[in-house]
């Protein structure tokens, strides 16, 4: 059941952004072919922006640079809700506080898993939030 069609990221989404299991992103190339990919995290920038990590060059990265629209869904398992974000690609950052914050996390994992240099933030892609929708499950009712 759809709830609250928003244009800003609410506070309650923040823990979900960190914990999203898993986050999924859909993009579309300029010639109209959709692409669905798993993403590791969605980083809260502010209530109108989110950042996604650019770790390796992929179809997704190319798509949003051709066609800035992006669809992201994060799931709150315990909260039994899926959050849908419609985003628009703004820019790519390779430094700054957003990049640093995302990079710290990635580097923390990479360094402990022998993946330094491989598992590495190349850039922080900044998206403007176009809409936010919370879709709650009706599982309990069904079960």
């Amino acid at each position: 059941m759809a709830e609250k069609f928003l244009t800003r990221l609410p506070a309650e989404i923040r823990p979900v952004l960190d914990n999203g299991v898993p986050a999924v992103m859909v993009t579309c190339s300029a010639d109209g072919i959709p692409n669905v990919t798993i993403i590791s995290q969605v980083h809260y920038v502010d209530d109108t922006h989110a950042a996604l990590s650019f770790q390796f060059f992929s179809k997704t990265i190319r798509n949003v640079r051709e066609n800035p629209k992006a669809y992201v869904m994060v799931s709150d398992v315990i909260g039994q809700a899926n959050w849908v974000l419609e985003l628009e690609f703004q820019r790519s950052e390779t430094d700054g506080p957003i990049f640093d914050a995302m990079d710290m996390q990635i580097e923390a994992i990479a360094s402990a898993t022998g993946m330094s240099g491989i598992f590495k933030l190349r850039a922080a892609d900044i998206y403007r939030v176009l809409s936010v929708e919370k879709l709650s499950h009706v599982a309990r009712a069904e079960a």
Binding site: V21, V26, G32, I33, N35, T37, S58, A139
Partner: protein, 160 residues
């Protein structure tokens, strides 16, 4: 044609999936997929779309017929993306529900380590109830497991 081992993966390991479409304005949409079935000839896949995600699905499919289905085994993150052309859609059948049940069980089991204290039904509820079955012809399959190789095309192979 979907390779045999990928059929095995889809039928026995994958536990979460997402479909993607786009509208006439090239705006992408995502649709939670609760289950999937592979045709006997392994040329088509039927995706069982969760109820909450069917709104713009048919409209987009009927507009351009483009569909991408990404299927993952959580938490290993082994992932494949199947791209193809929409063929038809239909309501659910009983076999579909059996498939979903199996997938639901697999996914709830994979979540347990993350949520050791969560009630079982919460974890099972993650796999949503499907409402629509969409069949599409698989034209390309890509490796989507995270890593530098993500995006490599598996089907068709270079020699066809």
């Amino acid at each position: 044609m979907i390779p045999g081992r990928l059929v095995t993966f889809l039928e026995q390991h994958a536990n979460i999936a997402m479909a993607g479409t786009r509208n006439r304005d090239l705006v992408p949409y995502g649709h939670r997929v609760s289950g999937w079935r592979i045709s006997a000839d392994r040329r088509t896949v039927t995706a069982l779309i969760s109820e909450q995600f069917t709104d713009r699905l048919v409209e987009s499919l009927e507009d351009n017929g483009e569909l991408a289905l990404t299927v993952e085994e959580y938490p290993s993150h082994e992932t494949y993306q199947l791209k193809g052309r929409y063929l038809r859609h239909r309501p659910l059948e009983s076999e579909d529900l059996e498939v979903i049940e199996r997938i639901r069980g697999r996914f709830a089991k994979s979540l347990r380590p993350l949520y050791p204290d969560a009630p079982d039904d919460i974890l099972r509820a993650f796999t949503l109830t499907p409402r629509l079955a969409v069949e599409f012809e698989v034209r390309e399959i890509y490796l989507q497991t995270p890593g530098p190789g993500a995006g490599a095309r598996l089907v068709p192979t270079a020699d066809g």
